[in-house]
Amino acid sequence: MIRFIIRRIFQLIPVLLGISMLTFGMMSLVPGDPVALMLGQHISHQTMDSVRQELGLDLPFLNRYLNYLWNALHGDFGRSYIQHQEVSQMLLDKIPVTFRLAVAASAIAITFGVLIGVLSAVRQYSFWDTFTTFFTLIGLSLPTFWLGMVLQLVFGVIFRILPISGSGGEGFHLQYYILPGFALGFASMAMYAGLTRSSMLEVLGEDYIRTARAKGLSKQVVVFKHGMKNALIPVSTHAGMDFASLMGGTILIETIFSLPGIGYMLFNAISRRDYPVVQGVTLFLALVFVVVNLLVDISYAFLNPQIRYD
């Protein structure tokens, strides 16, 4: 088990190098001179040169990359052009909101998705099953940000029971995360429903389910004790990845619901062409994605005894 974890961590090194290279390389996609962008147009050449020197932008590409990597390894993700603040500090300030939003979305998606999926697998060919298949397709076809707007419309005009904007100031206020969480998690919910359904159907066709039924166990015990754990293995593999991609997908939802998280920060950075922030957020979210993936692999090994002992 320890060996497995260590091997997995070593395998990450080339991926992490690649990620940093890619995010670093993005800067060179920018048309024009980054220093000019940073300082504005009415700055003398001397100032620009000195700033360039100060930032190490006059060095060769490889040196600049190694500097970037070195800084990133020390938690330095650069400095905002606009707010002149450390990107890492900005990230730290905004993480809680985005994290809560992603947790809310995941919780809503997993709870309802798995429930719908299991029910439709157990009642295959029923109305409920047909409904689930359609629900899955609809969930995957709805633009989340549009769903967010429709929810705002419905809850802002008709049912005025949940807040439709903001985070409610300092601290954690659950009610502010329900609508955005639902909108963000809706597609995932549909995906979980579909995934659970097909995984459960496959498991219910297995020989050991027949064995369990031949033992005289009730349908509930067969489904929940013998079926569920097996059926949830592929679902749980997905949960981690999905959580990470929900964090990456918060930009649209945070923008619509004016939630001051990483996504909203990214939106503001995009509209102001604040490149270091965009670069930093991208790198950070990719790292989250990779780390979560690692955790998923490890937990997968815990869930499935066959892998654990091999």
């Binding site: 080339p14 991926v15 690649g18 990620i19 290279m21 890619l22 995010t23 993005m26 800067m27 996609l29 920018v30 048309p31 397709l137 609809i138 995957l140 076809s141 709805l142 633009p143 940000f145 549009w146 707007m149 429709v150 705002q152 419309l153 802002g156 005009v157 990470a244 991609s245 964090m247 990456g248 997908g249 930009i251 649209l252 923008t255 619509i256 990214l266 939106f267 950075a269 995009i270 509209s271 062409r273 490149y275 965009v278 670069q279 991208t282 979210l285 990719a286 994605f289 990779v290 993936n293």
Partner: protein, 299 residues
Amino acid sequence: MSTNSDADKTLELYETSSLFLEIWDRLKRNKRAILGLFLVIFLILVALFANVIAPYDPVQIALKDSLKEPNLAHLMGTDVLGRDIFSRIIYGARASLIVGVVATSISLVIGVIIGAFSGYYGGWLDSLMMRITDIFSAFPFFLLAIAIMTFLGPSLLNIFFALGIVGWTNYARLIRGQVILVKESKYIEAARSIGAKDRRIILRHILPNALAPVIVYTALNIGGVILAEAGLSFLGLGVRPPAPSWGSMLAEGKDFIFNASWLVVWPGVAIFLTVLGYNLLGEGLRNALDPRLNLRRIK
């Protein structure tokens, strides 16, 4: 073992010259796939004949008509600049369709070439290619597209590039997996053992088998790309205004959501139906193209 006989049956299926007729036949019987096909064809027709169907010029500003509710003259109302929403939706189909098709084609070409080489030759080339796909897939799809678009700046050409470059890894993995699977499967062994030539094996067995999931994935991917384009345009990173795009229409309508909800409702419905069409078609194709799936159902 049952996998053996399944493979035999697959072999039989692919040996029949009426393969495409059979697929069409199966697709035809799937009501949902037909609904999807209808939606997709409808979208294509709307995009092609936008100038004939649209009653107004989509970029014509008429401030005296600002924010008109849906009425007989303006079926879906007008936006803050007095532009006809219906006409903008119809022209918006063009942007969505072009982005969907071109970006997917870019992903497809890159992915198929890299995937096929990795799968067929294996070795260090394969390891290198797979590490590169790992790196690309370490980014959430939409986030990487956003980042690239931010640095490149908004334009149609850049969207093609960004969404194309973001999406190729899935194709590469898919193709690689299929090529390896097919290369090592029993019926290729069988074909080889009865003296079939490499060329025949590749053309008759590997390609059709590897292609089936690619076709399915392409339909689904176009839907995904259209969704991503809408999201990018919503963030101001997509098609440049005033050219109509469903995503940017939603962004423009965002601030008027409570007094002019039609600005938000119709573009969303258009995106939803379009993506739904591709998803239905993709799912129907999956059912029609996967002979193993059908055999399983009979068993």
